[in-house]
């Protein structure tokens, strides 16, 4: 699903956020990405989502080399990916329903199909009764779950999550991780960046550790 071949990322100022990183996430696999803050977790996820572009090596997504893919083709690659942000990036001037429907509207689904899929996604995150409310009235955990519903509504092949539990208490964090495992169980590849070692060590998934932009030894967590 994702393959990094000696990938480096150097920012215009000269700072090298990632150096010679090689890793692979298979189809249907779930893994955690961890490391101290500034280790390059966010940069790695941004490279996958083509928000930032690699400056060295090769990057493959779904078998396609996207290292130097043109700007016009980026949107179509992004539609294969559901991205969950720490600050969830919801649009506060529209209802929960409209927020979750956005990826479907962008892909041009018909009206009935949008309604069906949005309700299915909201049902999975347990917010079916909140579809008509505005995100501002929701709690932090609920907002994060709306973000997750939006990320999965398009049935993406890959879920990326950048510190999805950063603002949540331990119980809500476990709930959110449980959701990711749920999607992973139906075949979605999942890559979660988190510095919450306590949380991820309790889950049985591979952990990729970054240290100052370099790959640490992989840990077989929970084994």
């Amino acid at each position: 699903m994702i393959r990094f071949d000696n990938v480096s990322k150097r920012y215009p100022g000269g700072f090298e956020a990632l150096s010679n990183v090689s890793l692979e996430l298979d189809y249907g696999e779930m893994a955690f990405l961890t490391g101290h803050s500034g280790a390059g977790k966010s940069t790695l996820l941004k490279l996958v989502a083509l928000i930032e572009r690699i400056t060295g090596g090769q990057l493959y997504l779904d078998g396609q080399n996207v290292s130097r893919i043109g700007r016009r083709r980026i949107p179509y690659i992004r539609r294969k990916i559901g991205f969950i942000f720490q600050d969830h990036h919801l649009l506060f001037d529209r209802t929960v329903f409209d927020n979750v429907a956005l990826p479907l509207v962008i892909s041009g689904y018909r009206h009935q199909e949008i309604g069906r899929r949005v309700r299915a996604a909201l049902d999975k995150v347990g917010l079916l009764n909140k579809e008509r409310v505005y995100p501002i009235t929701l709690s932090g955990g609920e907002q994060q779950r709306v973000g997750i519903a939006r990320a999965v509504v398009n049935k993406p092949m890959l879920l990326l999550a950048d510190e999805p539990t950063g603002n949540l208490d331990p119980e809500l964090s476990r709930e959110v991780m449980g959701l990711f495992e749920l999607f992973n169980r139906v075949g979605v590849s999942v890559l979660v960046a988190s510095h919450d070692i306590g949380l991820i060590s309790g889950l049985h998934h591979p952990v990729i550790t970054l240290d100052h932009g370099r790959l640490g030894a992989p840990q077989a967590a929970g084994a």
Binding site: Y27, G28, P75, Y76, H89, L91, G108, N154, K155, G187
Partner: protein, 329 residues
């Protein structure tokens, strides 16, 4: 890290082909455009005052040239009505008898540069004058008919241009029976030339005001883009193409242009309605049944076309400049 689930193959089917097929179907395309057009309209209606103000500025900018042009068209129509009855008037001396005038008319008719000659005898001229209100009493009080015989000479087409008609006028003036040979067309030609110049002037004003409309729409759309910056970032992140992001702004431009055009149309129609009555009264004083009028449907069509094109172009320019600069980071 090598756990492949049975679902992954089935999942892969969802990705490329279906997205592409959906994106390329004409029904999808139409549905999307209808959706976006309505969405843009809805967005405008949520802030009606600001939208109305922009549309009003566009309306005024469109109404000015449209109104001026319609006014000139009316003047041209009015003067065009006079042109075919115009020619040269040859006023004969008081001592020329009617039979001599008749004979002269015959002679002139044979000239190659003359198309037709009509004799208006003093009696006929007097009769025509008496028909006009107010003149009858004055004429009755006169002992003699003061009016001379007049030959109305219509030149052939090759002698209707200012230069050739002037030569004919000179030749008629030189006849011993002539008191005065007058070229009736001259002032009309001058008026025509002035109208032509005024039309060019309106063209220049139109170009400047079109530029103003472009700037107004461009600036309005630019502010809209900046206001929705966060939203643009989010939908770029979840896979919106530039075309998808551009579309609602282009439709906003189209709506501003359309509403501006309708406002301009109402202004021009209203202006003409206000002017119609005094213009008709003025025309009556000149014994004319001239009416000030516009062609409402044609005017609306022209204004709408212009407004929509300018709105689209203005928003296109703004979107092109500002949208690329907004990228998620």
């Amino acid at each position: 890290m090598n756990r492949r689930t049975g679902n992954s193959r089935q999942r892969a089917r969802f990705a490329w082909p279906e997205t592409l097929r959906r994106a390329l179907s004409p029904r999808t395309w139409l549905r999307r455009h209808a959706q976006v057009a309505l969405e843009s309209l809805g967005r405008l209606s949520r802030n009606p005052l600001a939208g109305l103000m922009t549309a009003a500025v566009i309306g005024i900018a469109l109404a000015l040239p449209a109104g001026l042009y319609a006014m000139l068209e009316n003047l041209q129509r009015l003067s065009g009505g006079w042109e075919d009855q115009a020619g040269l008037s040859v006023f004969l001396g008081q001592d020329v008898t009617e039979s001599a005038a008749q004979q002269l008319a015959g002679t002139l008719d044979a000239w190659p540069e003359v198309d037709a000659v009509t004799l208006v005898t003093p009696a006929e001229a007097l009769a025509e004058f008496s028909r006009h209100a107010g003149f009858a009493d004055v004429l009755d009080s006169l002992e003699d008919n003061p009016l001379p015989a007049v030959l109305l000479v219509t030149p052939v087409e090759s002698h209707s241009t200012p230069a050739t008609a002037a030569a004919l006028q000179q030749r008629l003036q030189d006849l011993p029976e002539t008191e005065l040979a007058q070229l009736d067309l001259q002032w009309l030609q001058r008026l025509g030339a002035m109208l032509d110049m005024a039309k060019r002037g309106v063209l220049i004003v139109s170009a400047l005001l079109a530029l103003a409309v472009l700037l107004v729409v461009g600036n309005t759309i630019r502010l809209e883009i900046l206001n929705r910056r966060e939203e643009i970032v989010v939908i770029k992140l979840i896979g919106a193409t530039n075309g998808f992001i551009r579309r609602p702004f282009l439709y906003s431009g189209v709506w501003y242009g359309s509403f501006g055009a309708v406002i301009a149309w109402l202004m021009v129609q209203g202006g003409f309605f206000i002017l119609a009555e005094p213009a008709q009264r003025l025309a009556m004083l000149y014994q004319s049944d001239f009416r000030l009028e516009t062609l409402p449907l044609l005017l609306l069509a022209v204004l709408l076309t212009g407004g929509i094109l300018l709105g689209l172009l203005g928003s296109w320019l703004a979107v092109g400049r500002h949208l690329d600069a907004i990228e998620p980071a």
